[in-house]
């Protein structure tokens, strides 16, 4: 079974600085999706970025980018020019593409990011 591990329960960053959140996963599959979701105090889960495993190029969305290392099964999120509104819980998630019946997201336990002015 697939697992997702986020080893950093909490992280902090100064406003305008850069921070990297770590995520590792375990799978025997070769094709899958990886996601980062943000959960602000409102608790709604918001998609930050998505990576298809077959793509070698790292995904980027404005100030958010990932470092996808398939062989190492690592999927870190880099937030550049951090803003106060980035403060939230960040969840890494895995989705299998191996079978239609495995259409579910497997989440890590999350990293709480604090942003200081």
């Amino acid at each position: 079974a697939q697992t997702v591990t986020q080893s950093q329960p909490e992280m902090s960053v100064q406003e305008a600085e850069t921070v990297t959140l770590s995520c590792t996963y375990d799978t025997s599959e070769s094709d899958y999706y990886l996601f980062w979701y943000k959960q602000p105090p409102s608790r709604q889960m918001i998609l930050v970025i998505r990576q298809e495993a077959y793509k070698q190029q790292n995904a980027t969305e404005n100030r958010f980018s990932v470092n996808f290392q398939k062989a190492a099964k690592s999927f870190s999120l880099k937030i550049s020019d951090s803003q106060l509104g980035d403060a939230a819980m960040y969840f890494c998630a895995y989705r299998s593409l191996g079978s239609y019946n495995t259409d579910k997201l497997i989440f890590g336990t999350g990293t709480r990011l604090q942003v200081f002015p």
Partner: protein, 111 residues
């Protein structure tokens, strides 16, 4: 554009009472629909998913059930709530098993 609604936003219920949480999606047809639960300080756990009207798959055995009476409506129910059912319930949708988008959630407290 697509939007997803959940009702109610918060709910406080006594142990043993029934439960009905509703999720509706606008702006798309035949979405895949999901119910997740998030315990305090934890990640999300998939409870149910549906690929069409009347088609429900359960991931975790429990005293909860789900139904999909209409294409864009997904309901989470219980006949008798337990204390352990407290948590934050999130509904999500996806198109063709692609990226999942989440609703605003329902905070359930069972006393």
């Amino acid at each position: 554009s697509q939007t997803i609604h959940q009702w109610p936003a918060t709910l406080v219920q006594p142990v043993g009472s029934p439960l009905s949480l509703e999720c509706t999606v606008e702006g798309t047809s035949n979405p895949n629909l999901y119910w997740y639960r998030q315990a305090a300080g934890r990640g999300l756990q998939l409870l149910f998913y549906s690929v069409g009207i009347g088609q429900i798959s359960s991931e975790v055995p429990q005293n909860l059930s789900a139904s999909r009476p209409q294409d864009r409506q997904f309901i989470l129910s219980s006949k008798k709530l337990l204390l352990s059912d407290s948590g934050f319930y999130l509904c999500a949708w996806s198109f063709d098993a692609d990226t999942q988008y989440f609703g605003p959630g329902t905070r359930l407290t069972v006393l």
